[in-house]
Amino acid sequence: MRHVISLLIENESGALSRVSGLFSARGYNIETLTVAPTEDESMSRMTLVTSGSDDIIEQITKQLNKLVDVIKVIDLSEAPNIERELLLVKVRATGAAREEMKRLADIFRARIIDVTDSSYVIELTGNDRKLAAFVAAIDPALLLETVRSGTCGIGRGERVLKL
């Protein structure tokens, strides 16, 4: 099953490779991984999307907790949560496709953030399924480039990951 794991980690050099090294060494799967400093610059927050049986997910959270640099770990998927990912797409936008592409972006509530005579860059946020649906809706012949940020997530309501 797919799990979104969030963790707070000391913002030190090498901290990211301790996490990624753990996943490769133990053969755990990583779908996406995002990391950036928090409002407290001494800590980073990392969101990992992984999948595995309950036993494997239990081991992953335990092994993450065991890393000396890791301050806190939660499995966001254990309770209601919100996931968002940013997608940037560059598309060919000429002739009839130019108007069509604009309409498609509106339908998905995406924004066009760069325009040239022949191309758009479109920005879209949402969960991974929404982003995938948008990309699938674009004519492959017009799709020039896509870039995704990886998922970041937060718990709903009172659930907080904080020191």
């Binding site: 090498g14 490779s17 092994q63 065991k66 020191l163």
Partner: protein, 569 residues
Amino acid sequence: MELTGAEILIRCLQEEKVEYVFGYPGGAVLFLYDALFQQDDIRHVLVRHEQAAVHAADGFARSTGKVGVALVTSGPGATNAVTGIATAYYDSIPLVVISGQVATAFIGQDAFQEVDTVGVTRPCVKHNFLVRDVRDLAATLKKAFYLAASGRPGPVVVDIPKDVSMTPCEFEYPKDISMRSYNPVIRGHQGQIKKAVQLLLGARRPMIYAGGGVVLSEAAEELTRLARRLGAPVSATLMGLGGYPASDRQYLGMPGMHGTYEANMAMHYSDVLLAIGARFDDRVIGNVDHFASEERRIIHVDVDPASISKRVKVDIPIVGNVRDVLEQMLQQIESGPRAEQADTTVWWQRIEGWRDRKCLDYKPSGELIKPQFVIQKLWEVTGGEAIVASDVGQHQMWAAQYYRFDKPRRWLNSGGLGTMGVGLPYAMGAQLAHPDAPVACVTGEGSIQMNIQELSTCRQFRLPIKICLLNNRYLGMVRQWQQMFHGQRYSGSYMDSLPDFVKLAESYGHIGIRVEKPGDVEGALREAFTTRKNDLVFLDFQIDRSENVYPMVPGGKGLTEMILPSEDL
């Protein structure tokens, strides 16, 4: 007052009451060595290869419970140390390994003798640090010693660039330490302890499976009290030997691949299994599914939450320091309601039946020296009081099976990683820590040659180790597997062109004795441990080449599917 980084390092080691540093100098650590030279508190032990420096520090730590310290230079010094670091990591041994690094301005430039030591060691350390600023040095070393020794112990690497070691800085050693990201659990959850005790008292077929955690947390006494109170049989793993007195009636021997029949049967058929400081290693429980086929309740005590329910699902997990948890359990038994304790008479009858199979019996010989016989004689001659450092292979299993360890920290071996070549450096570390204790290195002709250069270190520091080489002119354990599972095709397992070990020992200034007849075994051992007490004696026992280690649970099989010696091929 300002001190250089090198002087700060020495002061920190003094603050940590470090007695020995095992090391090898080089360009990146010249300033550290210079500072070491100008003081008398810490003794430097010059090894002949960096791998041995780490193993010797590890042997020191295993035999004392203190943090072992090694010092190596950058690049090849650090990579040579990796095997030692990984060995300590797998057996949870507290070490601080200090490595030199090229100057900070050169890091990443592919400088001479540069290697990314923090990157290379990351997967096999508890934690590691690169100290980029001398102002962080003292606090980093404080953290390193704290991390190495607390929680589940392990090796910590501190990589110090050359310029950091020569830069002056105000020195202050932090008095105490707290890390928001690291808070190991010490005491067990009281509710879980209660449940565990209830289960144990109600068990008709209780079994205690004790691992290295008992030795690491100095819990041998508490374990013995609990086992006696419960009247439960005890099995100690390869890492846990000595954690429970081997000559005690309740002791069943080692479990696992080369464990005893009675220990494996009791592990399998128990109704309540108490696992203490053990991790259900594949060499201990054999086939996981087979192990799970019998219904039993499992209580698992471990300081590392990640060890619990990793390979085997447990019913009552208890995270905590083994000794603290055992104390809590004992208190719970004494203070709790006087629970009716289940009758274990029938269980013990079954165990005695298994014992009667006498699985460790072997055919004695008047012609050929049996390796088991050598270990039994070693036990007799030393009165069971020696510190035994073993290498890895058949001799390791025979030493574990036939030398009965009644006290902890007397059995030093590479259990998890299985590193050949640890024996002699382990013995060195142990002998330095215990100058008056008899120290034996049980080894094979394959293993001893992996760190044979340390005979020179032993000479320099006058270490009177007794090397007991069980020489069968084979890589015996490999040969055994090839005999059993690879159609007797002895690929690469034959040790050709062996040196004359007697002459070799003599060339290093030691005593060498070759023993070829069973009748000479005891005499040679007596000579080594009495008249030659103060010398290193290299005993080359020419043993029966065909002897195999039994009992044996073949790979992939269950604990009850052992091959016994009577079924020898």
